[in-house]
Assembly symmetry: C2
Homo-oligomer: 510 residues x 2
Amino acid sequence: MISHPLDAILHPESVAVAGASPQGRGGGFISPMLDLGYKGKIYPVNPKYQEILGLKSYPSVRDIPGPVDYVISSIPATAALQLVDDCAVKGVKAIHFFTARFSETGRADAADLEKEILRRCKAANIRIIGPNCMGVIYPDWGLSFFGGLPKKSGKIGIASQSGGAIGDILDVMRNKGLYPSKAISYGNALDFNEADYLEYFGEDPETNIILMYVEGVRDGRRFFNTMREVTKKKPVIVLKGGRGKSGTRATASHTASLAGSMTVWNAAIKQAGGINALDIDEMGDVAAAFNFLPPIYNNRVGVCGGSGGSSVMGADLSEEAGLDVIPLPEEIREELKAKGSPIWDWISNPADFSIGMGGEFNIAEVLALMAKNKNFDLLINFMMNPYARNGFRPAGVPNTDAKTANPGNAAATPPVAPPKPPPGPWGNIPATIDEFLKPYRHEVIKKPLIIIHSERGRNDTTGDGNKAYLEMRDKLVENGIACYPNIARAANAAVRLIHFYREQQARLAD
Amino acid sequence: MISHPLDAILHPESVAVAGASPQGRGGGFISPMLDLGYKGKIYPVNPKYQEILGLKSYPSVRDIPGPVDYVISSIPATAALQLVDDCAVKGVKAIHFFTARFSETGRADAADLEKEILRRCKAANIRIIGPNCMGVIYPDWGLSFFGGLPKKSGKIGIASQSGGAIGDILDVMRNKGLYPSKAISYGNALDFNEADYLEYFGEDPETNIILMYVEGVRDGRRFFNTMREVTKKKPVIVLKGGRGKSGTRATASHTASLAGSMTVWNAAIKQAGGINALDIDEMGDVAAAFNFLPPIYNNRVGVCGGSGGSSVMGADLSEEAGLDVIPLPEEIREELKAKGSPIWDWISNPADFSIGMGGEFNIAEVLALMAKNKNFDLLINFMMNPYARNGFRPAGVPNTDAKTANPGNAAATPPVAPPKPPPGPWGNIPATIDEFLKPYRHEVIKKPLIIIHSERGRNDTTGDGNKAYLEMRDKLVENGIACYPNIARAANAAVRLIHFYREQQARLAD
């Protein structure tokens, strides 16, 4: 436990849900907690019911027998002041207002009601999460507002003005093997604001990487000062909502936020060492880089295992993202020559998988040579779904049928049979990936590696390609590999990571 | 049939495959043709076999009894000259050289061999596709180099220096309901080059949209002159391989191409009315826009049915892509007011689906009002996978449980049970989409509509989310809807389309 005021609030021994109902939405706050095995007391509050989801229901918060730490308000806005008064009597520490329709409606009376809630809560020493928000997900403490979440927790702290955005962020993260420490949706930020959540995650020992979706800042100076301190220890990835004039209009009706100038915002983020993301996919991409890769300070990349066209495009896209796709170092060519490869002078960086399909080299060997070479800071390797329409053998898998093939045709991709469980090494995907990663892991563990795990092949209607895709993903994630669907996204994430560590190093040296 | 020399070559009555083998790669060229029901004669050529895939095999092309229109060379480069001589004797019209290891190796002897092949083919009046390429896919004529391709054909012509890129393009296209008229991989472009393929697709009545992956141009002047003519009738989307210095190195070893300056390239594409794409996903996105949307000449967009956060981000990303997310026209607010909506003054553009979850309006009604309003040129509507982690009800689906819910909490997303076949309207995905599209289709058919069909929810390991994703995709495609996984990609594709038609209009008016 740490001393930040949010820490006590996020570890409640008892939770009441005002407005709970068996089928309705209030009940929804209870079942996710039951799902996650919340160990404290749960008190449904609704005068219409005796019992909700097997738990005794109380007519009001005042009627609950024991102490109540945390209240989730799932009642209409018109009843909110009464709830605050009840909570004051009961000595409640914090209220999460799922309740909405306050200042975000743009109406004066609703905004006044919001102010009065804040006034009464302050007087009663009650802290507020929200209003107009989904609240808290904290798998290790059994708190959630979504059902069906994995119980698994990770090292990523999320603070977001939008609960829907948290749903999208968690979905994107899960597909990359990333899990949250805590995720907090904070809506209108009436009491705790963006600076508080950032400060908290900065101190939180359960959080290593911080993601924020912010529509407007309540206290810009404190937010950026806090960010400048936090980024000395942890990366902070910020997605700004309300960047243009239409988005700014939308933030007002969503969370009553004033969006502000993007020129000022970008300068402030840069100065504070934060990382801007433009959408949720980019946020997830950058988070995966920080989660799986070590600090990297230079940008010389080796690219391995695409076919001819994807090698060319991979080189272009890597370079456009800001990586340096250096020529293949002479010593690697010499090593290939010494090993007897007849195409030693033709292999380049990117190393085109298809030119070796005559059996003259194995792409995994080239990757291992790159990994041992001091000129590379980072490696990117393609690994195709065996169901991909073009039927490529995944890079690094031994070309077992090379001898039966026509050696003269090795430079292009072989036509293949209709997609079906492929024979040979890909009969068992996890075993194949283990085999592929084995030499790399044992010999050259220290070179950062990204795998391009393409979505190609997962769209067939049989579902087999998707199954293979997910099987590959799970196996790669289990091995702690950062995966990206294409090289543009991989290169962008890597560049953002490298930039962060370089800037951090410079700032710490000052 | 048209008079372009490629047209006769692409309609062969007989095909010989030199280097065919039962298990090997040559055989692969035969089985895809058998799959697609090629109606002409197929002659395997390989002295080692009597029969391949049930077809009589011949020792050489000379030994084939009947006439041979088209030969696929799947033999080593060292045997290529002999094959050319045999084809000359036989009166063959065209050879597709899958055979590789010519100038792309960077070796002088291999480059000389390539030149000699061209010289002998010219002397014998034999045209060449390739060398170092996968050749031709033409579903309606039974030609293919990939197995397991859908027999379905469409209106998209593809010419690509890389066969692997064609595999990727077809996979991306298929996921959007797009199919090829013909796809031609042309590798080193020894005889027919980029200008020939472009000219051909420009004339081809089976092709409406042209996609090209080009690493280097053999005849830049003719290519861009041809493009300027073709784009008066059809959009030409070009993905340039070899844009940076590392990509340029890679084009040399892939297809022996000289990549050239991107400044010159971009200026020439612009002047010729072509559309640049940076990667295959963008190429597919833009192709889908042209395939499903009518010409659009202005950029005022109405966005409907995201939640709060995704409405804000949707507005930002649309604006950043170049669309104009105009404020909701006053007359729509008046109509909502007249219909008795208590939140008529709060609804905006984007129309935030979540604020109507108290049951005060149905997002499909708002969409219909936008569709009837002359201020919008284009509409974008979100439709969530019911298995998406955040459990949103898809936009436009009636909120059947609104009455049992807590009306005061309507501004945020309801917590939901763990993902499982959702009750209510989403029990039957195709029926739900039909229901959603019905009023739109009948009342306001003329307003272009894009649907954001998010990937969220398809990554659960049960496969149910993926199944729902594919079911939604198929149903949307069947209805002729352009689908995108996120609004940034949708907006970009729409902007490219609008720009193309505006430029085309201006050029035709000159």
